[in-house]
């Protein structure tokens, strides 16, 4: 596939991510921060997000597995996750975290478990999408092209 076609595919894909609400404007900000002095910024941040979130989700699972659930700790973790996801622009994950936190305050175990599932699901979705997008970008760069800037109409 030649470069122009790949670029068009990337643009369409990215646009679809925004349309479907997986990513919000914060992600654009991140892309703006990437320049010649910092060429892999987005990749680094995204990788860090993945690692952080994996760890947090594991901790959450373990915390909610306890007989006496320490909601404070759970809240702390969810707070972290919410922070990370909002920093990167993973909108749906963030929203799921917000819901999670409110249930934590209520100390509702069932609801929190459900929320955990929800968050995990959203997280894996966005992870998948982001990995695809990044792979596309790498292919374009390897083929000698440049990554097009996304103009959002909204």
């Amino acid at each position: 596939m030649e470069v122009g076609q790949m670029q068009r595919r990337l643009v369409d894909y990215t646009k679809s991510l925004f349309m479907e609400g997986f990513l919000d404007a914060q992600f654009l900000q991140l892309q703006q921060l990437q320049d010649e002095s910092n060429p892999d910024f987005v990749v680094e941040v995204v990788s860090l997000f993945f690692d952080d979130s994996e760890k947090l989700l594991n901790d959450l699972t373990m915390a909610l597995d306890q007989p006496n659930v320490d909601f404070k700790k759970v809240d702390a973790h969810v707070h972290q996750l919410k922070g990370s996801s909002s920093s990167i622009g993973a909108q749906r994950v963030k929203n799921a975290c917000i819901a999670f936190r409110s249930f934590c305050e209520e100390q509702n175990i069932d609801a929190t478990l459900r929320c955990l599932q929800q968050v995990k699901q959203e997280y894996y979705l966005v992870k998948n999408k982001l990995e695809t997008m990044l792979r596309l970008e790498q292919q374009i760069v390897a083929a000698g092209g440049s990554i097009p800037m996304i103009e959002l109409g909204f």
Binding site: Q26, D75, H79, Q80
Partner: protein, 740 residues
């Protein structure tokens, strides 16, 4: 015809006699004819001869006489009747004219004589005028010499130059042989030869002052001729000649105090110098009157010039003295400053040295209190704790007070939340008040601005002290704290006549009243309240402890804030009211367009990059930390990242201009860090700007942030533009209270 008509004269007997008569008549006639010719000739030459008519007459007379004599020539011999007729006619005419002339001359000769007299008179007059002219010229020359001398004398203010010049010029003008000046010695009993004209180095001749000759000179204001043999004149090398005339004149030596306008110089001077002038020997010159006058005038001028020189010398001396004194004062001032600095250093060091063991004592005693103790032991520990707390307070107070005393304390001005200060005081005082079952109420006037500019820490200290006193001295009842925005009518209080508040646009006066229902104070004790170390002696207060410095310090703080503090009480047992007013700045109305709340859309974005700006980012969340770092790096900042509060406190330094800290994670003490940072950097300009990054900006978070002294809040997530504008605004204004 024998009878001839010729008349026969008498025949002279002598022929010789006839001949002589003939010749004489001829010459007479000649003379008679030539005289008028001469007369005419000479008169024609001269222009001024006034009597022409007389001349004509005289001429006619002479001519006729001449004619007569001429005709006489013919009558010696036989002559005809015609000749006789002619002769007769001539004679008759001559007779007429001569009589007329004689008559005329009677009138004229006196006139002519008087002309002569007049001529003589005029000649005399001319001679007299010539003499007078000579006199005037001489006087004028004298005047010129005097002026020149005066000019020379007055052109310098140096005493020696004046005198030397005088002598030189006088010598030159009057062609003197020697000119000398004798000055009175310090004792006033002798005259010492000070300056001479010819001798370069006058040896110290002295002459007693009370010689009759000298007295004579001193008592007259004119120049006096003295004998060449008197001691003051004996300064020439002796020789075989006739010494010239000598004149001496007194020179009054005037003092500053002697200048009275009416008595100058006769009555006001006591000391004179003597000037002696000698004409050249063997010159037979005499002292002329105008020369004497010249000498007198010069002597007076010299007196004035000398007094000017004396005044100048005095003022120079005074100036030198002042300069010396200035130097000495400067040195003393510097020494005093060094002493103050040394004292302050000593105090600071001692303070620190004293505080460290104090803290150890207090901390360890508190810890000891927590352990198992017998009641006596507990009592002892409590006493130790109380005493050491007291001592610690005392140390603080003394250091503060000493700094306040010598004015080295300066207010730390900044914008702060006034309401927060009052709330803080309330929070601090509530526990103690509730233990004593006192009810504390706070009333803030509605027109009081929320933000003010002033020294927050010291204002809080003052309010706390006043309220603390109220609580301390009340056993029961209630304490009410009210704060107003003082209007101008209230500002001028009759009870505080020495307080002159000046209302202005940028400032307002905060008036705080703390009323308690405690033991009260008797009126005579009120003035002593604010003096250091003085305490009222009632039994209630003796148990309350305290060093008595609190109110003194408050008063000094209040004074620094250009305000006034006073206490009113109706008497013992009737409670008392403490009132103070301080001047605070109003943030909105200052000249810089600084608002406590940033507008939602800032109008200028400022610089788009902040090269090298050192920034510290504290965030536990790795991802958001990385994103913030990326933002700041993109803007060119030099970012240091820390992930915990301990690390933050360790790393933060005065090089970091801004500190971003995440405060929204529960359980993390971002506020604590802010407080610690505030403590660590006491000077406002060294302290980094602290900005809170938070996910929620509800009121509680905002209040907490402001309470701990943060400079702003930003809502996460932060966009690039937002970060850029925030940084530029922060760096410009140093305050940013909300950025959504």
């Amino acid at each position: 015809m024998d009878s001839c008509n010729c008349i026969e004269p008498q025949r002279p007997p002598d022929d010789l006699l006839m001949k002589y008569q003939y010749i004489s008549d001829f010459f007479i006639a000649l003379a008679y004819f030539s005289i008028p010719l001469e007369l005419i000739y000479f008169v024609k030459k001269s222009a001024v001869f006034p009597y022409r008519w007389v001349l004509v007459q005289f001429g006619a007379f002479i001519v006729l006489c001449g004619a007569t004599h001429l005709i006489n020539l013919w009558t010696f011999t036989m002559h005809t009747r015609t000749v006789a007729m002619v002769m007769t006619t001539a004679k008759v005419f001559t007779a007429v004219v001569s009589c007329a002339t004689a008559l005329m001359l009677v009138h004229i000769i006196p006139d002519l004589l008087s002309v002569k007299t007049r001529e003589l008179f005029l000649k005399n007059k001319a001679a007299e005028l010539d003499r007078e002219m000579g006199l005037i010229r001489t006087q004028e020359e004298t005047g010129r010499h005097v002026r020149m001398l005066t000019h020379e004398i007055r052109s310098t203010l140096d005493r020696h130059t004046i005198l030397k010049t005088t002598l030189v010029e006088l010598g030159r003008t009057l062609a003197l042989e020697e000119c000398a000046l004798w000055m009175p010695t310090r004792t006033g009993l002798e005259l010492q030869l000070s300056y001479t004209l010819r001798q370069q180095n006058p040896v110290g001749y002295t002459v007693p002052i009370h010689l009759p000759v000298i007295n004579q000179v001193f008592s007259s204001s004119h120049a006096v001729k003295i004998s060449p043999k008197c001691p003051v004149a004996l300064i020439r090398p002796a020789g075989k000649y006739m010494p010239g005339e000598v004149v001496a004149v007194r020179v009054p030596l005037l003092h500053l105090s002697n200048f009275q306008i009416n008595d100058w110089p006769e009555l006001s001077t006591k000391r004179y110098a003597l000037m002696v002038l000698m004409l050249p020997s063997d010159s037979a010159r005499q002292w002329h009157v105008h020369e004497l006058e010249l000498v007198e005038v010069v002597a007076d001028q010299v007196a004035v010039a000398l007094s000017h020189a004396a005044i100048l010398e005095e003022s120079m001396r005074a100036r030198d003295l002042l300069m010396e004194q200035n130097v000495a004062l400067d040195l003393a001032r510097r020494e005093a400053e060094t002493a103050i600095r040394a004292r302050n250093d000593f105090l600071a060091v001692m303070n620190h040295e004293m505080r460290t063991p104090m803290h150890a004592i207090i901390a360890l005693s508190s810890l000891l209190q927590e352990t198992e103790l017998t009641p006596e032991q507990r009592l002892m520990v409590e006493t130790i704790l109380k005493s050491s707390n007291l001592l610690s307070t005392l140390i603080n107070d003394v250091l503060d007070l000493s700094r306040l005393e010598d004015g080295s304390l300066q207010l730390d001005l900044g914008t702060f939340n006034l309401f927060a200060v009052f709330r803080e005081v309330l929070n601090l005082i509530k526990p103690i008040a509730s233990v004593k079952k006192l009810h504390v109420s706070l009333n803030l006037a509605p027109d009081l601005p929320e933000y003010a500019i002033g020294d927050e820490k010291r204002l809080m200290q003052t309010i706390l002290n006043v309220v603390g006193n109220a609580v301390k001295f009340s056993k029961e009842g209630s304490i009410s704290i009210t704060a107003f925005f003082a209007k101008s009518e209230l500002l001028r209080d009759s009870r505080t006549p020495e307080f002159f508040p000046v209302p202005s646009d940028n400032h307002f006066y905060l008036r705080v009243q703390v009323k308690d229902s405690g033991v009260g104070i008797s009126p005579q004790d009120i003035p002593k309240l604010f003096t250091k170390f003085a305490q009222t002696q009632s039994t209630a207060t003796r148990n309350s402890g305290g060093s008595g410095l609190g109110l003194a310090i408050c008063k000094r703080f209040v004074n620094l804030m250009e305000g006034h503090i006073w206490i009113e009480s109706e008497g013992l047992g009737k409670g008392c009211t403490a009132i103070f007013m301080v001047k605070l700045g109003i943030p909105e109305r200052l000249n810089e367009p600084k608002l406590p709340f940033m507008p939602k859309v800032p109008t200028n974005h400022g610089p788009t990059a902040f090269p090298g700006l050192k920034v510290l980012v504290m965030d536990e969340n790795g991802v958001s930390r990385m994103v913030t770092k990326g933002l700041l790096v993109h803007l060119g900042c030099d970012v240091t990242m820390v992930s915990s509060s301990e690390e933050c406190l360790r790393v933060v330094s005065h090089e970091h201009k801004v500190v971003f800290m995440d405060v929204c994670v529960p359980g993390m003490d971002g506020y604590e860090v802010a407080i610690r940072i505030n403590e660590k950097f006491t000077k406002r300009h060294e302290r980094p700007i602290i900005v809170a990054l938070t996910g929620n900006t509800d009121k509680v978070t905002k209040e907490n942030c402001m309470r701990v002294g943060m400079d702003g809040i930003i809502l996460k997530p932060v966009s690039l533009d937002k970060m850029r504008s925030v940084l530029s605004d922060l760096l410009e204004h140093r305050v940013l209270f909300e950025a959504i």
